[in-house]
C-alpha cells in the first residue's frame, strides 16, 4: 500500500525538485499490486483537519477560503457557520479589485449559497465584463468568465447582448491559443504550452458556452472535444493502473503544481464542459477515469492544503459527474471464518465511499492461491444488500476448504446508459479460516535395536494433558498425530514445531512433516547426542501448531522428558551461551570491604610488669651482694686533682648512661652521637687522670 501511496505522491513532489530523476527511477522499479480503497472516514477526518477556520470566518485569502470550502464540501459532514463566512465573503466582494479574488469570492458564495444585495453584485458584473474584454491570456479569461457564470442571473437584458459579443470574442481568442496536441498556451507571448492551461481553457470555454448558449457553437464544441480526445490520448500511466496528465515544462504562469494540478484542472474542465455541452458529445473511455481514480486515491491524503484541495476537488468530480463515475471494489473483511460461517461481503462504492444504484456483481472465478486448480465458483451473482453499497455471497460451502482464494469480479449495470463503471482492480484475495481437528496424538519411546515400544501413551488434544517420559541414547522418541481440516481433508499448517527445552534453557526445534494427514517425528537420540550437546536431564516437550488459516492454534506442553545421555567426550562442542539476563548484566556489583591484617598477639600488661620486676631482681641481688661482701669506697680520692677528675669521670659515665636513656626516650642518633662525642672525650680525659692517679697509688703501695 505504502509503495503505491508514494508513487503518486512522489510525482507531485518530485516534479519541482532536483531529485526528480532519482524519484522517477525508483518509480519504475516497483510494481505494486494493491487493493484500492475508497476514501475512508479516517482519511476524511484527517483531511478536514487541514482546513482551519479563522476568527473572521475565512480560511485565509479569498483563494484559500474557496479551496477550503470546496474541499469541505467534498468531504461532507462539516459544521460550518455559513453566516460568518458569508459575511467575510461579502466584505471581500466589495473590496476586491481584481477578477481572481472576485472569482474565488463568488465561487465560495455559490457553495455556501450566500445572498448579497443586488446593487453590489451588478457593480461586480460590469467590472468582470470589462476585465473579460481587456483580457489577453487564458488566466485573464478564466477568472472573469468563471465569476460571471456564478452571477449569471444578475446579467440584465440590456447588457446581455453586449456581454455576448464580448464573450464570443473571448471564446475565439481562447480557441486561438489551443495547440494541435490538445494543450494550450497561456498567452500569445508564451512559446510553451501547458496541460494545466488546457484545463483552465476548457473550463473557461465551457463557462462562455453556458453564458451565451450552445446555438451556432457546433464548431467550437467540436474543437474542444477533439482537444480533449487528444489530451486523453497523451495520458501517462503507472504500472499500478494510475493514469495522469504530465506537465512537460515547468508551469511558471499559474503557480506550477505539476501533474497533480494538471490532472485535477483538466478533469474539472472536462466535467464542466460535459455538463454544459452534454456528456454524449464527449467520448472518454471508462478506463481513463478508472486510471484517474487510482491516481487520486493511491496518493493518500496530502498534507499541504493547496494540494489537498486539488486532490479532493478531483475526487469530488469523480464521485459525481455527468460522464463516468468510477466504482471501487473493496472487501470489508478478507477473512472468512468457517466457524462463524461468514458470508463474503463486497463493497462497491464511488471514490468517496457513497453507494450506487443497484448493479450486477458477479464472481468470475475463485481459485485457491497455492494450487492453480479449478475455480470453485464461477459466474455467481452476488446478492445486493440494503443501502446500495454492499453485496454478499455464500462463499463458504462444502467445497471451500480453509486456505487462500484469488477472486475475480465483474460489475455490470442493468441500465445500459449508466455512467457508473468499474475503476480500479476487480481482483481480490480472501482467506478462509476454520478449526482444525487434531487427533490420535501418540508419544512413544522406542528401542533402537528391537524397534519395540518401551513406553507408549495416547494424549487427548482437547484436554492438553501432559505426560512424563524417560529415555536414554539407545532409544527413540516418536511423536505422531493426525490433522484434518473442517471438510475432512488433510491439512498442512505452516508451523508444526516440536520444541525441546533443556533445563539450562538450551532449545532444540524440530519440524514435523506430514504424509497425507499423518504427522510423525522420530528422534533417534543416538544420532542426536552431538546436537543435544550431550546434555542429560529434564527436557520440556512443546508442540506448536499454527497457520494463517487455523483458528485454533495449539501450543501444547506435552510433558517432560528425562533424558540420559553419555558423558561428553573431550572437545565436544559446547552449547552457545544463552543470553544472560539483562537485569543481571547491568546490576550493581556486590560490595567489597577490605580485611585488615590483625595485630599480633601480646601478653597482658600485668605479665610484662611481672617480668619487669623479675628483670630488676639481679640488680637488687648485686646491691645486696656488695653489702654482703662489705664493699667500700675508701679508695676514693679526697682532695686535689684526683678528686676533681674522679668526680668528672663518674659524672661523665653517668651522663653517657643518661644520654642512652634519653636516646631511648626521645633523642635521635645524630644528637646522641654528637653529645656522646663530647661526653666521651671528657670522660676519657678525666678517666685518664683518675686512672693514672689510681695506678700511681697502687704502684706506691706495691713498692712500699
Amino acid at each position: 500500500m505504502a509503495a503505491a501511496v508514494w508513487n503518486a505522491r512522489n510525482l507531485a513532489k518530485c516534479w519541482e525538485s532536483a531529485i526528480g530523476l532519482a524519484c522517477l527511477v525508483l518509480l519504475c522499479s516497483t510494481v505494486p499490486i494493491l487493493a484500492l480503497h475508497p476514501l475512508s472516514e479516517a482519511d476524511k477526518a484527517a483531511a478536514r483537519q487541514l482546513f482551519v477556520l479563522k476568527d473572521d470566518g475565512s480560511f485565509g485569502s479569498s483563494e484559500e477560503t474557496y479551496h477550503a470550502l470546496r474541499s469541505l464540501q467534498v468531504l461532507g459532514n462539516n459544521n460550518l457557520d455559513t453566516s460568518l463566512t458569508c459575511g467575510f465573503i461579502s466584505t471581500s466582494l466589495t473590496s476586491s479589485k481584481n477578477a481572481k479574488d472576485l472569482f474565488y469570492d463568488l465561487k465560495a458564495a455559490e457553495i455556501l449559497q450566500c445572498e448579497f444585495a443586488e446593487d453590489a453584485v451588478t457593480g461586480v458584473v460590469s467590472g468582470l465584463l470589462t476585465a473579460a474584454k481587456e483580457a489577453t491570456s487564458i488566466l485573464d479569461y478564466f477568472y472573469p468568465v468563471g465569476a460571471l457564470v456564478s452571477v449569471k442571473e444578475y446579467l440584465s437584458e440590456e447588457n446581455f447582448e453586449d456581454a455576448k459579443a464580448t464573450l464570443d470574442v473571448a471564446l475565439e481568442s481562447i480557441k486561438a491559443l489551443g495547440q494541435s496536441d490538445g494543450t494550450w498556451r497561456y498567452s500569445h507571448k508564451e512559446t510553451d504550452s501547458s496541460v494545466k492551461a488546457a484545463g483552465l481553457a476548457l473550463e473557461a470555454a465551457a463557462g462562455i458556452l453556458s453564458l451565451t448558449g450552445l446555438e451556432s457553437k457546433g464548431s467550437e464544441i467540436n474543437y474542444l472535444t477533439s482537444a480533449i480526445n487528444k489530451l486523453f490520448d497523451n495520458i501517462e500511466s503507472y504500472d499500478d493502473g494510475a493514469q495522469y496528465f504530465d506537465e512537460r515544462s515547468v508551469d511558471k504562469v499559474s503557480g506550477g503544481g505539476g501533474p497533480l494540478a494538471a490532472t485535477s484542472t483538466v478533469l474539472r474542465g472536462v466535467s464542466v464542459l460535459a455538463s454544459i455541452a452534454g456528456s454524449k458529445r464527449l467520448k472518454v473511455g471508462a478506463d481513463k477515469f478508472a486510471g484517474l481514480a487510482t491516481f487520486f486515491l493511491s496518493m493518500g491524503i496530502l498534507e499541504n492544503p493547496a494540494e489537498a484541495y486539488l486532490q479532493l476537488d478531483a475526487l469530488g468530480i469523480l464521485d459525481d459527474n455527468s460522464l463516468i463515475v468510477p466504482l471501487i471494489l473493496s472487501l470489508p473483511s478478507s477473512v472468512l471464518s468457517r466457524t462463524t460461517n461468514d458470508k463474503l461481503q463486497v463493497a462497491i462504492t464511488t471514490v468517496l465511499g457513497s453507494g450506487t444504484p443497484p448493479l450486477v456483481v458477479t464472481i468470475k472465478s475463485a481459485v485457491p492461491s497455492n494450487e492453480k486448480s479449478n475455480s470453485i465458483w464461477s459466474h455467481q451473482k452476488l446478492q445486493a444488500l440494503e443501502g446500495g453499497k454492499f453485496y454478499s455471497f455464500e462463499f463458504l460451502s462444502d467445497k471451500t476448504d480453509v486456505g487462500k482464494y484469488d477472486l475475480n469480479f465483474e460489475i455490470s449495470s442493468p441500465d445500459k446508459l449508466s455512467r457508473y463503471a468499474a475503476g480500479g482492480p476487480l481482483a481480490s484475495t480472501v482467506t478462509v479460516t476454520g478449526k482444525i481437528a487434531i487427533s490420535d496424538v501418540e508419544v512413544a519411546v522406542v528401542d533402537s535395536d528391537t524397534g519395540s515400544a518401551d513406553f507408549i501413551t495416547k494424549l487427548d488434544s482437547s484436554k492438553l494433558l501432559s505426560t512424563t517420559i524417560s529415555a536414554n541414547h539407545l532409544q527413540k522418541l516418536k511423536i505422531s498425530f493426525e490433522m484434518t481440516s473442517p471438510s475432512h481433508a488433510p491439512f498442512n499448517p505452516q508451523q508444526v514445531f516440536l520444541k525441546l527445552t533443556h533445563e539450562s534453557k538450551v532449545e532444540q526445534l524440530y519440524l514435523i512433516k506430514p504424509s497425507g494427514k499423518h504427522f510423525e517425528l522420530t528422534l533417534d537420540f543416538l544420532g542426536l547426542v552431538e546436537k543435544l550437546y550431550y546434555l542429560s536431564g529434564q527436557y520440556k516437550i512443546q508442540l506448536i501448531i499454527g497457520d494463517a488459516t487455523m483458528e485454533n492454534p495449539l501450543n501444547w506442553d506435552l510433558g517432560s522428558l528425562e533424558l540420559d545421555l553419555p558423558e561428553a567426550p573431550e572437545g565436544a562442542i559446547k552449547p552457545r551461551e544463552v543470553a544472560a539476563d539483562v537485569a543481571s548484566k547491568y546490576a550493581p556489583k556486590p560490595e567489597i570491604a577490605h580485611i585488615f591484617r590483625l595485630p599480633e598477639k601480646r601478653p597482658a600488661a600485668q605479665i610484662s610488669a611481672g617480668f619487669l620486676i623479675v628483670t630488676l631482681l639481679p640488680l637488687l641481688g648485686f646491691l645486696f651482694g656488695l653489702r654482703f661482701l662489705g664493699a667500700n669506697l675508701k679508695g676514693f680520692p679526697l682532695s686535689g686533682l684526683p678528686l676533681l677528675s674522679a668526680l668528672g669521670f663518674h659524672a661523665g659515665i653517668a651522663s653517657i648512661l643518661l644520654l642512652y636513656f634519653l636516646f631511648w626516650l626521645k633523642l635521635n642518633l645524630f644528637v646522641t652521637l654528637k653529645l656522646l662525642g663530647f661526653l666521651g672525650l671528657f670522660t676519657v680525659v678525666t678517666g685518664h687522670f683518675i686512672l693514672s692517679h689510681l695506678a700511681d697509688v697502687s704502684s706506691k703501695v706495691k713498692t712500699a
Binding site: 501511496v5 505522491r9 508451523q495 499454527g546 560490595e591 619487669l612 620486676i613 628483670t615 630488676l616
Partner: protein, 433 residues
C-alpha cells in the same frame, strides 16, 4: 580590522554552540533519509513530535547524490534517521563505512527495516550488532499473538514483551501493546552493548508466510529481536527496528485487539513506544555527567598528595542527568566507588543527598601502592560513566609505629638495670680498699 575578525570568529563558533555538545547533549540537527518523500506524511506524527521538541529535520531521499554527513571534517548532523529500507545504495558520499564512522564518532542512529530491506541497510545493522534474518522474504510470524485485522496472514504482531527500563521507555508505563510488522533479527548473546528491548513471543518464527517450511527457521521464539538498542562505549545510541510501520501514523492510530483476547485497546502503544524511544536515542534522557570528584582525610578539607595505610578518608562525586533542557541532580541508590589497584580492594555504594552529591567514607586498606578511585556506572539505558583518579598509599614511617610497647618492658628494665649495675660496679671496682 578587529571588528571583522571578531565577526568571523563568532560565525565560525556558531555551529559549535548550536548542536550536540558535552554541555548540551541533546541532538539538534537530524538527517532523515527516506525511500520516498511520502513517508513524511505517512509517518508524520513521529516526525512532528521531533519537530515539536525542537529538532531540525533535514529530509532527503536516501539515494540523493548530494548527500553528505560531513564537510571539511566536521559533521553536519548530530543524528541520522534511516527510514529507507529499500535503498540499494546510499547516495552521495554515504556508504556503510561512513554511517558506521558517524556512529563511531558519537552520533546517534535510528534504523528501521522492512520486508524489503536492502543489503546496505542489513550491513549497517550487522555492524551495529543486530543481524537481520538472512532470508530476504522472511517476516516475523506469530499464530498466537497477532492483531485481529481485516487481513489475515498473522504477520501483524502484538507484542507486550518490552524491556522494563524507565530510562529507555519513559517513566509512564506503555499500557497498550505495540504493533509490529516486519523482519526479525538476532543479537549475539555475548554482546554487552546491544540490548533487545522488544522481543517476539516463544511461539513466533521468522519465515516467508506464503511458502511451506522445508527446514527449521533460522530465527524462532524469544531469540527473535524485534527492536534493539545499542549504547556504544562512546555513548552513541542506536535503535534498530525490524519494522518501519511501527513508526507510522497508521499503527499509531490503529486499535489493537489480540487474537484470543477480549480486551480491545482503542489505540496501540506504538506512539508512546516510538516517541519515548526517540527521546532516549536523542539523549533527552539517561545522559549523565560526572563532575567534582573529591576525596580527603576524615576531618580535613584539602585533598592530600597521598594517603597512609589505614587512614580514614571521605570520598564524594557529583552526578547530574540531562533532562533535555538543563542538568538536574541524578538520583540513584546504586552508584559505587572502587578503591582499586589491579583489583578492587574496596567497593562501596555511595549515598546521595538528593542534590546530586554522592559520598561515602572508608578506611584505606593496609596495603601500600598506587591506587585509583574508580566510579564505573553501567546501567541499562544510561550513558556509561567511568571516572578514575590516581592516589598513592604509603606505609607507616619508622617513627609512626607504636613506642613503649608494654610487652617490651622486661627488655627495657633489664637494659637499664644492667646500666645501673655497671655504674655502681665501676665505683666499687675502682675505689674499694
Amino acid at each position: 580590522m578587529a571588528l571583522p575578525l571578531s565577526i568571523i570568529v563568532i560565525i565560525a563558533l556558531l555551529p559549535i554552540c548550536w548542536g550536540f555538545s558535552e554541555e548540551q547533549p541533546t541532538d539538534q540537527r537530524v538527517l532523515v533519509l527516506l525511500d520516498d518523500i511520502a513517508l513524511k506524511s505517512t509517518h508524520s506524527i513521529f516526525f512532528k513530535s521531533l519537530l515539536d521538541r525542537g529538532y531540525e529535520l533535514d529530509f532527503k531521499i536516501a539515494d540523493d547524490p548530494t548527500l553528505a554527513l560531513q564537510r571539511y571534517g566536521k559533521y553536519l548532523y548530530d543524528a541520522l534517521i534511516l527510514f529507507a529500507p529499500a535503498v540499494e545504495g546510499l547516495g552521495g558520499s554515504l556508504d556503510v563505512a561512513s554511517v558506521i564512522d558517524f556512529v563511531d564518532s558519537g552520533h546517534d542512529l535510528i534504523l528501521a527495516a522492512d520486508t524489503s530491506t536492502s543489503e546496505v541497510i542489513r550491513d549497517i545493522a550487522t555492524e551495529c550488532g543486530a543481524d537481520f534474518d538472512e532470508d530476504i522474504d522472511a517476516v516475523v510470524i506469530d499464530h498466537f499473538n497477532y492483531a485481529l485485522t481485516s487481513e489475515n496472514d498473522h504477520t501483524l504482531i502484538v507484542s507486550t514483551d518490552f524491556i522494563n527500563s524507565s530510562v529507555i521507555l519513559g517513566s509512564n508505563d506503555i499500557k497498550a501493546p505495540v504493533l509490529f510488522r516486519g523482519i526479525g533479527h538476532s543479537v549475539n548473546p555475548a554482546s554487552s552493548l546491544v540490548v533487545e528491548i522488544l522481543i517476539a513471543s516463544s511461539t513466533a518464527y521468522s519465515a516467508n508466510p506464503s511458502v511451506e517450511l522445508t527446514d527449521r527457521p533460522a530465527l524462532t521464539g524469544t531469540s527473535i529481536g524485534l527492536v534493539s538498542v545499542v549504547q556504544a562505549r562512546n555513548n552513541a545510541r542506536v535503535v534498530i527496528s525490524g519494522s518501519l510501520d511501527l513508526f507510522s501514523d497508521r499503527f499509531f492510530h490503529s486499535a489493537v485487539q489480540k487474537f484470543g483476547s477480549l480486551t480491545k485497546y482503542p489505540r496501540s502503544g506504538n506512539e508512546d513506544f516510538a516517541i519515548e524511544l526517540s527521546r532516549w536515542v536523542f539523549h533527552e534522557r539517561g545522559h549523565l555527567k560526572v563532575v567534582n570528584l573529591q576525596h580527603h582525610k576524615a576531618g580535613e578539607k584539602l585533598e592530600p598528595p597521598m594517603y597512609r595505610i589505614s587512614d580514614q578518608l571521605e570520598f564524594s562525586i557529583e552526578i547530574y542527568e540531562w533532562s533535555g533542557k538543563h542538568w538536574r541532580p541524578f538520583q540513584a541508590s546504586d552508584v559505587q566507588v572502587q578503591f582499586y589497584m589491579m583489583s578492587p580492594y574496596v567497593l562501596k555504594t555511595l549515598t546521595h543527598n538528593k542534590k546530586g552529591l554522592y559520598s561515602t567514607s572508608f578506611q584505606v586498606p593496609d596495603v601500600y601502592g598506587v591506587f585509583q578511585f574508580k566510579v564505573e556506572y553501567n546501567r541499562l539505558g544510561y550513558t556509561s560513566l567511568a571516572v578514575s583518579k590516581q592516589i598513592p598509599v604509603r606505609p607507616f614511617r619508622h617513627n609512626e609505629y607504636e613506642r613503649f610497647i608494654p610487652a617490651a618492658y622486661p627488655y627495657y628494665g633489664s637494659a637499664f638495670s644492667m646500666m645501673t649495675g655497671f655504674f655502681i660496679f665501676g665505683l666499687f671496682f675502682l675505689y674499694h680498699k
